[in-house]
Amino acid sequence: MPRYIVERTFPEGLTIPTTAEGAETLRGVIRTNADEQVTWIRSYVTDDRLKTFCVYDGPSPEAVRRAASKTGLPVDSISDVSVLDPYFYLGAAS
């Protein structure tokens, strides 16, 4: 399954409270994603909370977009990525 990075902009700043409600919001996102066979791996959030870079596994960019649309999340761009790990190369060389 391809891995995607989704860039998002939250003009009002992203806030997810560390409460039961916040947890339920995240659970809802995971459930909705599952309907499209999209798995949310992890997100990186900028300090000002205006931008996120989200890592997903999914069958196609369209599935990622559908999942985002159903969970009300914006999409600036989607990139198809693969992992480049410095230690993999270093390990192979030694």
């Binding site: 960019p61 369209e62 159903k70």
Partner: protein
């Protein structure tokens, strides 16, 4: 004794309960040979008595079409779809059997597979449970059943049961009263139920395979009993007692065979306990004797009434008797062809043609022609051409001109499938040349029409219309109605895509009705050409109407190919109208439902998906576009020009003008050789963007031409009238900064990130102020991914309103509702109202 099948029996009982409430199902029961599928079914069905009917497919290489259905219904003369609909109605009615068993569908002929699919798609709304057993280990990637299983698996009304091997504990139960070691027996047999029981019946005598075990039991029997058993193995399923006696066997020997428990008496029929046993015995008979036995069976069958030609052909082939094959195979082949069992027809025609010397020259050539026709139906054009060329040569040698012409027309179709329009045209012209010798005739009309059709495919109206006009006049003079309809249809298409669009649309409207008067298949042909033709010339309202009706009509008759192509074009139209979510939904539905991975429908759909990705800036667009272009290599330009434009657009968005020209140069030259204003326009436009063209060709479609001469206002007006928001925005972005600002709003709203970024950057460089920052945060979309209007229609649909009632409620036309319903189905990946409702309520 039935072991370890409680869960499966419970599943079957539950399906029966639901069916009685009106919610039927198709149960696919898979398992290896000898796993115990039949035993399971028998256990379930026996208490039901007359509430269940059973049909079985025969282990023949060329089974008779619809043979399992013949076990419980009268097949008669009417066509497949009508028959299937009748059967379904009959079984759905109250006080009728609720369970239909179809055994061994891995041996099913194509007509039977079509029946399984027909019923599988509709059974959810009937009081019926259909149980199909099959050997799942024999259904590989290329097996005809594989595609049907894939299409049915997606439906909620389809249930899957796997009959797995017995566990060691089960084997232990069976060996309880013997001295056999359960673990060893389990290991030897891998838990295969039939093998286990065979070993037990042989008292545990050693064997290395189940066939071995079966034959070991025969070894001790006297010759005459052995002979009876051999004879029974010649019949594909069971042998009538009277036939066994007629085949010169003593009643005593027959009784002894039954005593031995190798065969059993099932009413008036003698059969083996399992097909594994029958084929083991059959294959062990020495060849010469086997041939004689098949001959004897054949003689016996011939003396009876009601011949089963497929069976006669089977025994003739097994008897290796050329003159018998020549007598029986052709009839069986034609019966299979008539029922749409093309695979079986091909095998039988091949068997006949393998003994060509048995036939007079004209019959030999005719068999090859019919074989070629079936191969074309199976999408095997290379093999078809070999046969058709042989046929043509054969007819030429004996001077049968009309048949030569028929062979050429079929060869033309095969060339077209292979993407060789030049060769297709040669065949069409040769057909005309031959037909002209005999003056005006139906054949000449059709031959002229073939040439016109080739020009139509090449989008060359002025070359094609003279042929159409001549053919139309001739058909009129000769009073040939059906031929006239075909000719008028070609003429209408010629006008639509290469000549006068409005005239073409008017003619096609009439043509669709005319073709429809010959039956639903005719109407579908008309609609698909109207829909795709109108789509190509950007008359979207007309196109959508035709495509939606075509999709619905095709599905109602289980005619998958036009349904898939309709959807692919609905995707294309949605893409051009900037309804990208709908486009993706339709393309995905084609991907999910089509079995032909190299066909026109899937390639077209993937090409559309590629263009959407390019415009959104999503990954994976280029790959799809290149695949589509490669897949259509050699085919006419209209299959390729949109993906080519998409690839050029991709390169342009990255600023790679050289790559653009590489992609466009060849196709643009091809476009100039056609009379299609949209090919001239779209490809010319991207050539202009690449800096390769200064001015539009004389023929270029008006909105593109306007852009190329810098008349932005006119271009925008025209694009808005046609209904292409993205193209209108592109035109605006080529104008003054104020206009470009409007373009930006469109690109942001559509999610066209690459163009939005490009316009932003250009505006900044131009020093424009007050550029909006980006798309406003997304308002929460409809939870099911539908547009506002679609959501309204869906609510009423779920409430049970018909399309007409929804139209009244929402104050729109019924056609508009049908469009929305079609898009809703695509978004859910379903094909019927009931499935859509089920998907929503899930």
């Amino acid at each position: 004794m039935l072991l370890e099948r409680d869960r499966e029996l419970a599943t079957l009982a539950e399906q029966l309960r639901l069916a009685r409430l009106g919610s039927g199902s198709l149960v696919l029961i898979g398992g290896e040979a000898g796993a115990g599928k039949t035993t399971l079914i028998t256990e379930f069905v026996q208490p039901l008595g007359r509430q269940a009917v059973i049909g079985a497919c025969d282990p023949l290489s060329t089974p008779r079409p619809l043979s399992p259905l013949r076990d419980f219904v009268e097949v008669g003369e009417h066509g497949n779809i009508d028959l299937f609909a009748d059967v379904l109605e009959q079984f759905g009615a109250p006080r009728q059997p609720t369970v239909m068993v179809l055994e061994d569908i891995h041996w099913a002929d194509q007509a039977t597979l079509d029946f399984v699919r027909f019923v599988g798609r509709r059974v959810g709304e009937h009081r019926l449970v259909v149980l199909c057993t099959f050997r799942d280990d024999e259904v590989g990637a290329n097996h005809p059943l594989r595609g049907v299983l894939g299409q049915l698996a997606r439906l909620r009304s389809t249930v899957r049961i796997d009959v797995s091997p017995l566990s060691v504990d089960a084997v232990r139960t069976l060996t309880a009263d013997t001295s056999l070691d359960a673990e060893q027996l389990h290991e030897l047999t891998a838990g295969n139920a039939f093998y286990v029981t065979e070993v037990l019946a042989a008292g545990g005598a050693p064997s290395t395979s189940v066939q071995d075990a079966v034959l070991a039991r025969l070894a001790q029997l006297p010759d005459d009993v052995r002979s009876v058993i051999d004879t029974i193995s010649i019949a594909p399923r069971s042998l009538d007692l009277t036939r066994a006696l007629a085949l010169d066997h003593e009643a005593a020997a027959i009784d002894a065979a039954i005593e031995s428990a190798v065969v059993l008496a099932d009413g008036e029929h003698l059969r083996f306990r399992h097909e594994i046993a029958r084929s083991a015995v059959h294959d062990a008979i020495l060849p010469a004797r086997r041939h004689l036995l098949h001959r004897a069976m054949l003689d016996l069958l011939l003396a009876e009434e009601q011949p089963d030609h497929a069976r006669l052909a089977h025994h003739s082939i097994e008897a290796s008797a050329p003159e018998l094959i020549a007598t029986h195979a052709p009839t069986a082949a034609r019966e299979a062809a008539g029922r749409g069992s093309a695979r079986e027809a091909v095998a039988l025609f091949r068997a006949a043609v393998g003994h060509e010397d048995q036939f007079p020259p004209d019959e030999a050539a005719r068999l090859r022609l019919e074989l070629g026709i079936e191969l074309v139906k199976l999408d095997r054009p290379t093999e078809a051409l070999a046969e058709l060329e042989s046929a043509r040569e054969g007819f030429e040698a004996i001077g049968h001109v009309p048949d030569q012409i028929d062979s050429l027309r079929q060869a033309g179709r095969a060339h077209e499938m292979l993407g060789r329009p030049g060769d297709a045209m040669d065949c069409a012209r040769e057909a005309v040349r031959l037909a002209e010798r005999d003056g005006p005739s139906a054949r000449l009309v059709l031959a002229l029409n073939s040439v016109a059709a080739q020009f139509m495919l090449a989008r060359r109206a002025s070359d094609g219309l003279p042929f159409s006009e001549r053919a139309a006049a001739m058909a009129g003079d000769l009073g040939l109605e059906r031929e006239r309809f075909a000719v008028e249809h070609t003429r209408a298409c010629l006008e639509l895509v290469g000549g006068d669009t409005d005239a073409g649309l008017a003619l096609l409207d009439t043509s669709v009705d005319d073709l429809g008067s010959t039956g639903p298949a005719g109407r579908v042909t008309g609609l698909i050409n109207l829909g795709t033709g109108a789509g190509e010339v950007r008359r979207y309202d007309v196109a959508i109407d035709a495509l939606v009706e075509c999709e619905a009509t095709s599905l109602a008759h289980d005619n998958d190919a036009p349904a898939a192509y309709s959807r692919a074009w609905l995707a294309r139209v949605a893409f051009e109208q900037a309804r990208w979510d709908d486009a993706v939904a339709y393309a995905s539905l084609v991907d999910a439902t089509t079995t032909n991975r190299r066909g026109y429908s899937l390639l077209t759909a993937l090409g559309v998906l590629g263009r959407v990705r390019v415009r959104r800036g999503d990954p994976g667009g280029v790959g799809l576009l290149e695949e589509t272009i490669a897949g259509f290599d050699g085919h006419e330009l209209q299959y390729r020009w949109s993906p080519v434009a998409g690839l050029a657009e991709h390169h342009w968005l990255r600023g790679d003008l050289d790559a653009m020209v590489n992609v466009l140069a060849g196709p643009y030259d091809e476009a100039l050789a056609t009379e299609s204003e949209w090919a001239h326009g779209e490809l010319g436009y991207w050539m202009w963007k690449a800096g390769e063209l200064d001015a539009p060709s004389a023929r270029a479609a008006p909105p593109f031409a306007a852009q190329m001469v810098g008349d932005t206002d006119r271009a925008v007006r025209l694009w808005e009238r046609i209904g292409c928001p993205y193209e209108a925005a592109l035109a605006r972005s080529e104008g003054a900064p104020a206009t470009a600002l409007d373009a930006l709003a469109t690109f942001d709203a559509l999610g066209a990130a690459p163009m939005a970024a490009r316009v932003r950057s250009a505006l900044r460089s131009a020093g424009v102020e007050g550029i909006p920052r980006g798309p406003s945060s997304t308002t929460r979309a409809h939870p099911l991914g539908l547009t506002g209007r679609q959501a309204e229609v869906l609510d009423l649909l779920v409430d049970g309103l018909s399309n007409a009632e929804i139209a009244t409620r929402l104050f729109v036309s019924k056609k508009t509702v049908e469009h929305h319903v079609s898009a809703i189905y695509a978004k859910f990946g379903v094909e019927t109202r009931a499935q859509a409702i089920a998907a929503v309520l899930a």
